[in-house]
Symmetry: C2
Subunit: 465 residues, 2 copies
């Protein structure tokens, strides 16, 4: 396998192939097949997302994939932002359609006409819904599995509120939900408020969660958007207030995608292969028998598996007889299983367990009676270790951009003081080749703009995927 540090891009493609996450040989570029193992991991991520938005009062819905040209054109900035990357359906059977229809690139235009029907009075608010669906972008740039593709596995939450302040509170709730999700996935990030020229088409402002991939490029792994009344005025989403007058709703959205999986692969993996956080690992614990004269390893494996399954662990016994234990060790390490249990003659004889974490370290030995708690403890420590490594890597991946020269030469992300102007951003991008991702929302530090010397705040620049 490729070395992750020296050639991340090749490593990334190779591990996706080897571990059976996705098959990109489908005849349409940028549209890949989700293989069973990859789909299981993605569903694990979806489960974490659902669990967290469900308890916050969101309801799951599913809108049609097609959006008429009329629907899409209602909000001008929005259609302008997407019309160059939309797939158009123009024919049904052999006949041209009377109305051309777009494959959703995102679902504002699909949803907000219905919001207009659903929202009547203040008692209907807040309206909080989400869907997990495929969205489509006609990408003309180089495609890359889970990162830049044409059919995207997408989570989108949409809300409507009585006023701007309530919508702002929703933005805070999103931020908390994101803390939970990113924490389960052990993913570090910085919150960048996108510059006005780079915000979501139609939004008042956009906050993005940017992480650092190996090799130094940044990856946007989530966004939350404040729409204010930009859409509601165009789609006519009004409600009756308690005082008998009418008002437009304020709206927000929260978007996530399979880029979360890309980040998990890239940030946690190593030269041996994938490493999955326990919460999304399709197999959390693999049990491998080491055949041993006179010992019934098979029934001991079953017993161990039953004990663990009963406690809710996702367990797999690899009892294929045409592969050596060493081959199996390598294969399951490559596939990112967090914990391995090895069962040989000694374990059977002594009623013991020997475990090994995917992140390394000594073998852990315990009595079979202590198994579920010891396995829990081991998985928790793996999660901590993944988080520690990831945050350490992230620290190293953002450097101080004290001069244009440093930012031009560096292969990391950069933090620097910026006044917020387009002029200074253009100069930075022109001279360093890096993109200004925006002001760091949660960093209060103040300083002089790297370019113009005026008052500024901490901003992020990088080569984004």
């Amino acid at each position: 396998m490729e070395n992750k540090k020296s050639d991340f891009s090749s490593w990334y493609n190779e591990i996706i192939d080897l571990s059976g996450l996705s098959d990109k040989r489908y005849p349409i570029k940028g549209m890949n097949v989700w293989l069973p193992y990859g789909l299981k991991v993605m569903k694990g991520i979806d489960r974490i997302i659902r669990d967290n938005v469900d308890i916050s009062g969101f309801q799951e819905v599913q809108f049609p994939v097609l959006i008429t040209r009329d629907q899409l054109s209602i909000e001008f900035e929005h259609v302008k932002g997407f019309e160059n990357e939309v797939y158009w359906v123009t024919r049904g059977g052999r006949e041209p359609l009377e109305v051309e229809m777009a494959l959703r690139p995102t679902s504002e235009a699909a949803m907000y006409g219905m919001f207009q029907l659903w929202v009547r009075a203040h008692t209907d608010l807040p309206l909080k819904i989400y869907q997990i669906v495929s969205v489509y972008r006609y990408e003309t740039k180089h495609t890359r599995t889970f990162i830049r593709i044409r059919e995207i596995h997408f989570f989108e939450a949409h809300t409507a509120h009585t006023d701007y302040d309530s919508a702002e509170k929703q933005m805070v709730e999103y931020r908390q939900i994101w803390d939970q999700i990113s924490s389960e996935l052990c993913l570090p990030f910085v919150v960048d408020q996108r510059p006005d020229w780079d915000k979501f088409p139609g939004a008042m402002y956009t906050l993005a969660f940017d992480t650092a991939m190996p090799g130094g490029r940044s990856l946007q792994i989530g966004t939350i958007h404040q729409y204010g009344e930009n859409f509601s005025r165009n789609y006519g989403i009004e409600y009756l207030k308690e005082d008998g007058t009418h008002s437009y709703v304020s709206q927000t959205t929260f978007g996530l995608s399979e880029r979360l999986l890309a980040a998990v692969i890239g940030i946690h993996g190593d030269d041996t292969g994938l490493i999955f956080p326990p919460s999304i690992a399709p197999v959390q614990i693999v049990i491998i028998p080491i055949p041993s004269e006179g010992a019934d390893t098979d029934s001991y494996c079953s017993r161990v598996s039953q004990i663990l399954s009963a406690e809710g662990f996702r367990v797999h016994i690899d009892n294929r007889d045409n592969y050596t234990p060493g081959f199996k060790f390598n294969e399951w390490e490559m596939k990112g299983v967090p914990l391995r249990i090895e069962i040989g003659g000694r374990e059977v004889r002594d009623n013991k367990i020997t475990m090994r974490l995917r992140t390394g370290g000594d073998r852990i030995k315990c009595r079979i009676d202590d198994l579920p708690s010891e396995a829990s403890r081991a998985l928790a420590s793996l999660k901590e270790e993944l988080r520690r490594r990831a945050f350490e890597h992230f620290e190293r991946s953002i450097e101080d951009g004290n001069s244009l020269e440093i930012m031009k030469k560096g292969e990391t992300m950069f933090r620097f003081y910026w006044c917020g102007s387009k002029e200074c951003s253009d100069r930075i991008e022109g001279e360093t080749g890096k993109t200004v991702l925006g002001m760091q929302k949660e960093n209060e530090n103040k300083g002089k703009c790297l370019i113009c010397g005026k008052d500024g705040r901490v901003a992020t620049a990088s080569t984004p995927y």
Copy 2:
């Protein structure tokens, strides 16, 4: 609400609206919005499907929605069967696409090029996969929610085997899986082997599961198909046999859709509203407090809810204070919740429970200590009652078609003897307006063809949806 017997079609549309399953006001005809309640029920059905195919060794995958014209054209009968009802994507952004692409109407053409890459040797077989995705048909007929629509929630299983006999064994396994699924949903059916002129485009033969909807029309709620080598020869899906020679695989498929939900709604519902089998009810037990002077019904409700939730029941307490108990009874009956618990002063004082089944009958009283087991028993008896009613209705819905006159006048499905010829089928269809659905696969009776008098077997005719 409409009377179900006297105007099923209006009843059906009205209950879907009232209960909040689906919203058909979306601006594209035949493309509806899955509302939270409807999506939960459909996911319940999906869960039953997944549970049953997963334990049979199927693996879940997800293929792209787009299929190039070239992919689709590889099997001639197949493309001929679908080309009049396919949506075509012809433009990306502002540019015409070099290659036109279809929204999948079904996924044979998407999958089998990949099968050709995946299947190398006999050790790769059987290959058993499935996906649950939306498929698209440009319907020109009148659309109807969950029955005839343009964006269909679809389950499709696809297999490849070493030879025809193994594929036939798969057909038997499908039949057993279908027994489990239909049994959970309490749906009766007859297995009709579609006439050659009505089989799936590209199949050697098609077995359909046909049920009877109120009003007498039949509804095809599932199909299994034997493809033999029809697709594998065209897509080049060959494998290396143990003896060193190569052979084409034999293939099968199994298809289900949201029509299962249509059948559940239509067959189990009554003039009060929906009735869901417990396995798919989003709320299995609703708890309604009856406010009573001096009794803390709220905390008793919470206690009951906790006891039931801990045992895995899906429970909801309706403690809205702006609605009367009577209003709540009606609403939850309309929404099809199988079991209701009423908690008033007497229940609190005596540590008792009062329950009522959605299918009627006396109120059930028990001590709170007996609650989980009594609730299980009640739900099991509701399921039995649904099944009994459904099978009784089904019995009444298929009559003997002893003459063309009877079949012409009748508003039910019919069984009759048929020789299997196209000529006799055409005559039946021409004179009665009914469609010949095919020979009843599991009925061994023999008799003389209603039309020509030659040797025949039992066939089914109806007005299908």
